[in-house]
């Protein structure tokens, strides 16, 4: 569904090709129809128009917002600020409508909401398109800033949204035939179809498939990217208007949880993360499928503890179903295994052949004059350019802390706290950073931390002796979680984001089942001492962290494994052709990431003295942020662990500074976002010419 179909209906495309192009969306549509059938079947009575109207309004907010996200994903980007825009529009509307005024102008308020969304989109687009900064970190900063602004507009739920908005958006477009939410989605889709047929639509897919080629054939990549974020912002704005109409009031937190389900909808709808393939039509079905899962689980009376497991499984199945074909990774792997087996039976495997040295005879190298190694600052110029900004910002933050709060630079306690608090993210940064270096992303970090911490606390239960076997158990568990992630990505061909997102949900279910909702047990004295005690004036975890940093630098910079990681990140195909065993390396990378998360689970349990459900939730976005702030390219291949460490120290020092003040939370969130944005400003890409 790219260049050819964009020429319009006149171009004759064979049916098979049309089917192949729209597979994702078609399968989503079929699954949607089946889910609707299931809802109808298990429901109390047959689905009436009233039920359909209910269902359509339930999924509309996330469908509309996810359509915007789809455009960004199609262009190869990522927008983390989407949920925050929905909240902002909601509170902006709820705080500015006058409850005493007789009626409200629906068109005007809708335009206001869309306008707010587009303004935010323009902000994102400016940094991403013109300043060539990485979408994930720009939108992450925007997210923090917007959350702060939202709390400044309205610091608690309340406000008033005119019922006129509600009766318009939740009413009927055609009485007893078409509910308004469906009509709104239809209008957005029609606008998309028009856009897709235009030159802009063609350019959008081109930029997503390959920005360099797009630029070479004369597409203005900068303008296209900018417009994509503006249009996507408009969609989030409309979603914010819709949720305001639906709830009739404002709530500063209402949009934030929409973010992850939005990505799930995009993926279930058949759009490929990374760009170039898919479209908003499938996303709409994806959003409604995910919403109906709620109804189906309820009708089947699935225990609450299993619901995240069920959702994770559905996510994987939906993606697998969308990709089962002769060309899919799984099919290719199976065929390869079959032919390898046949070769083995025929005795023609390379390993079974007689070993003869068939190497070409090349004359030994003639001694030439010794090559002088370039000076250090030249050799590491690239690394320094990307790693230094984080450290420079760190120095600035420490100086500000000294001036504002006093007692920082000369206070050993300050540095000790900084290192202890940094240790969690420093460990995570190695795992997440290595995954990102290969061009992936590990979203299963939160509940790997949570599950490992809970199981460790449960097994240890205050005994140092138990720690001796609990610790290895938990670490092996971490490795197996990583193996499952890696195997799913490598052998089933599921995209890393989907696979690890699903794993995260499944692990959450396991943690709930294991703990029955309330984790028992607590850390042993030795583990607690390790994280909170004193050894010659410093906490014992500090020397451990220094050793960890040294090992991490060596693993990534001085081992074959490290070189393979960079090789894969720079180009999977090239790496494969150079003889790197990509599958094995990728699995090892995800095992490393989960191992790091398991270690953090252990450390957090020691630090807090106990484990709690959700204790890893606060570490997902920071683990990505520190890697990127430290100069790593989110698409892989470039970055240094010392840079990531700089990112860790910078963000931790910033949080320590903010916690020491009595600034309101909203202001802190805004400052945090601005500092992250400023820190990565220096990292922007050089113009490609």
């Amino acid at each position: 569904m790219s260049l050819v179909s964009a020429r319009g209906p006149k171009a004759t495309v064979p049916l098979a090709r049309w089917l192949a192009r729209n597979r994702g969306a078609l399968i989503a549509a079929i699954v949607f129809a089946l889910s609707l059938g299931v809802v109808d079947w298990v429901g109390a009575g047959p689905l009436t128009y009233f039920d359909v109207s209910f269902l359509s309004s339930g999924g509309a907010t996330s469908a509309i917002a996810a359509m915007g996200q789809t455009l960004v994903v199609l262009s190869g980007g990522f927008d983390l600020s989407a949920g925050a825009v929905v909240s902002l529009v909601n509170v902006a509307l709820a705080s500015s409508m006058d409850p005493l005024a007789p009626g409200a102008n629906v068109v005007l308020w809708t335009l206001a909401g869309i306008g707010i969304g587009m303004t935010v989109g323009a902000f994102n687009g400016f940094f991403i398109a013109w300043l060539r900064m990485q979408p994930i970190v720009v939108t992450l900063s925007t997210m923090f800033i917007l959350q702060g602004v939202t709390l400044l507009v309205m610091d608690k739920p309340g406000g008033f949204v005119s019922p006129d908005l509600g009766s318009f958006y939740l009413g009927d477009a055609v009485p007893n035939l078409v509910p308004m939410p469906l009509a709104v989605i239809g209008v957005v889709l029609l606008m998309w179809l028009w856009l897709k047929g235009s030159r802009f639509g063609t350019a959008l897919y081109a930029v997503g498939s390959d920005p360099d080629s797009a630029a070479a054939v004369g597409v203005s990549v900068v303008m296209v990217r900018f417009l994509i974020y503006v249009i996507a912002g408009g969609c989030y704005g409309l979603a914010g208007v819709f949720i305001s109409a639906q709830t009739g009031s404002g709530d500063p937190l209402v949009g934030n949880p929409l973010l992850l389900s939005m990505f799930a909808a995009v993926v279930v709808g058949g759009t490929r993360l990374g760009g170039g393939q898919g479209g908003p039509t499938g996303t709409v079905f994806g959003a409604y499928i995910l919403m109906m899962v709620v109804n189906i689980l309820l009708a089947l009376n699935v225990s609450a503890y299993y619901s995240t497991i069920a959702e994770g499984t559905i996510l994987i199945l939906a993606v697998l179903a969308g990709s089962i074909s002769r060309g899919s990774v799984l099919a290719v792997k199976l065929r390869a295994a079959r032919s390898q087996f046949a070769a083995w039976r025929a005795g023609t495997l390379p390993a079974q052949l007689e070993r003869v040295d068939r190497r070409m005879r090349i004359a030994p190298p003639t001694p030439s004059r010794p090559v002088t190694a370039p000076p250090l600052h030249v050799r590491y110029a690239e690394t320094l350019r990307y790693a230094l900004p984080a450290y420079i910002c760190l120095v600035v933050i420490v100086i500000v802390t000294q001036l504002w709060l006093g007692r920082a630079i000369l206070n050993p306690g300050y540095w000790n706290s900084l290192l202890v608090l940094s240790s969690f993210l420093a460990v995570l940064a190695l795992g997440q950073g290595t995954v990102i270096l290969t061009g992936g992303l590990d979203l299963s970090v939160p509940w790997t931390i949570g599950l490992c911490g809970i199981i460790l606390a449960g097994m240890v239960n205050g005994s140092d002796v138990a720690l001796a076997y609990a610790l290895p158990t938990v670490l092996v568990m971490g490795l197996s979680i990583g193996f499952a992630n890696g195997a799913g990505i490598v052998y089933l061909g599921i995209s890393p984001i989907v696979m690890t997102l699903a794993t995260n949900g499944i692990l959450q279910g396991f943690a709930l089942l294991y703990s029955q909702g309330t984790p028992a047990g607590f850390s042993s004295p030795m583990l607690r001492w390790f994280m909170t005690g004193r050894l010659a004036g410093v906490t014992p975890v500090v020397p451990f962290m220094l050793a960890f940093v040294a090992v991490a630098v060596l693993v990534l910079g001085r081992t074959p494994f490290g070189r393979r990681v960079y090789g894969i990140g720079n180009g999977v195909r090239a790496a494969q052709l150079s003889g790197i065993r990509v599958e094995r390396t990728l699995i090892l990378v995800y095992m490393l990431s989960s191992l790091c998360a398991a270690v953090v689970g252990v450390m957090l349990t020691g630090f807090s003295g106990q484990a709690s459900l959700g204790m890893g939730d606060d570490y997902l976005l920071p683990s990505i942020a520190v890697v990127v702030v430290g100069g790593t390219l989110i698409t892989g291949g470039r970055g240094h662990y010392l840079g990531m460490l700089g990112g860790v120290l910078l963000l931790t020092a910033l949080q320590m500074l903010l916690a020491g003040t009595t600034l309101p939370y909203a202001t802190r969130a805004i400052l945090y976002g601005l500092v992250v944005l400023a820190a990565v400003m220096a990292l922007r890409e050089r113009r490609v010419q």
Binding site: V254, V294, S608
Partner: protein, 376 residues
């Protein structure tokens, strides 16, 4: 290639449908009120405990033949809870007991449910839609009473550190504003550090570490923490403070904190520091986790046609170092006699909420909160 995958998809869904049909027929329970519980996240102690108590209430012999209770989780997502409540109404609920994620976002859907004759009961947090029944404590009172206690303990002067809850929620807003209004009346009370505690002991540890990186415990005279006194006391011990030097702390009703409030000499089964008696100067309060169970009980009464008030304000469960008392077994009878802290041998999780006693719920005691077993 499309056909193969479509066929597989259909086979898969067929299996799901078959299992659905079985479950549907089994769930038909005659003559019972079909009541749904819509929880928020299950990822914290309070929520799990509240859900256990609701289940115990439904399993009590006075209720078991009247109630068919089904539990669903919405997570932190208000949009999803809206969808869930709609689905519950469609599935034929007689009453819905809700932990509302947002006090306002559910109004439309709750009104819809009421219009269809469904009784909607919100526990702990409120729903502002007038047709809903609300059961909760007065959060402003909680903020005011604890702040006044701290001011009195400090004789009206000193440096204090405060940790708030989840920003953007009404509960946090009401507690924090009420407390700050009290502090504002005393010019010698100075707030020297303020952070977001997210109602979590783990977050409290991180945030307090950040605040104390540029300060020492000697610069702090008192603490007002929505959740975190247990952790704050543990951190003071780690920093080399003696139990009799602990700073006064106004905060949560977790069992770990209650045990710390007992005089140092108390013999307690299963104690190990910091989950041990320290004689800590404390005031301990909480949103009581029995509110969901009480909501279910009132919902059944309402369905039976009894008159139930729209708003039930629960008494604020306040325990100070003077009134703390250890329970031996934790039966309802024993708690009625005034005990309010539980042996670590019984409750191994110090973050577990100890305010489980209510005059109005003799059906549920310690076992209800721990494992969902009602009293006899």
């Amino acid at each position: 290639m499309g056909i193969v995958s479509i066929a597989r998809r259909i086979a898969l869904m067929a299996g799901l449908v078959a299992s659905a049909a079985c479950a549907g027929s089994a769930a038909e329970a005659a003559d019972k009120y079909k009541i749904y519980l819509s929880m928020s996240f299950i990822g914290n102690d309070w929520q799990a405990e509240a859900a256990n108590m609701v289940k115990a209430m439904a399993a009590h012999k006075s209720m078991a033949d009247k109630v068919d209770l089904q539990v669903q989780v919405a997570g932190p997502n208000a949009q999803r809870q809206i969808q869930q409540i709609n689905a519950m109404v469609q599935a034929g609920a007689k009453a819905i007991v809700i932990f509302p994620i947002s006090p306002t976002a559910l109004n439309q859907v709750v009104k819809n449910a009421c219009d269809k004759g469904v009784k909607v009961f919100a526990y702990d947090a409120e729903i502002t839609e007038p047709c809903a029944y609300n059961i909760h404590i007065d959060q402003e009172e909680a903020g005011r009473v604890t702040a006044e206690w701290l001011v009195k303990k400090l004789d009206g002067k000193g440096n204090i550190v405060i940790l708030t809850g989840v920003p953007g929620t009404s509960v946090d807003d009401q507690r924090t504003k009420a407390a700050k209004a009290v502090f504002a009346k005393y010019p010698n009370i100075k707030i020297v550090g303020e952070a977001v505690g997210m109602w979590s002991q783990a977050v409290a540890r991180t945030e307090l570490s950040k605040i104390l990186a540029t300060r020492s415990w000697d610069d702090v005279d008192g603490l007002w923490l929505q959740v975190g006194c247990f952790t704050a006391n543990a951190m003071q011990l780690e920093a080399g403070k003696k139990p009799n030097e602990l700073k006064p702390c106004a905060g949560e009703g977790a069992n770990g904190g209650r045990i710390q409030m007992l005089p140092e000499s108390t013999k307690v089964e299963g104690a190990s520091p910091p989950y041990a008696p320290l004689g800590a100067p404390r005031i301990s309060y909480a949103s009581p986790p029995y509110s969901g169970a009480l909501a279910l009980k009132l919902a059944v009464q309402a369905l039976e046609g009894k008159d139930v008030p729209k708003l039930t304000i629960l008494p604020l469960p306040v325990v100070t170092s003077e009134t703390v008392k250890l329970c031996e077994e934790g039966t309802w009878e024993e708690m009625k006699a005034g005990c309010n802290a539980f042996n670590p041998a019984l409750v191994s999780n110090p973050g577990w909420f100890a305010s489980i006693f209510s005059e109005q719920t003799p059906e549920i005691g310690l076992n209800a909160a721990l494992v969902g077993q009602p009293e006899n």
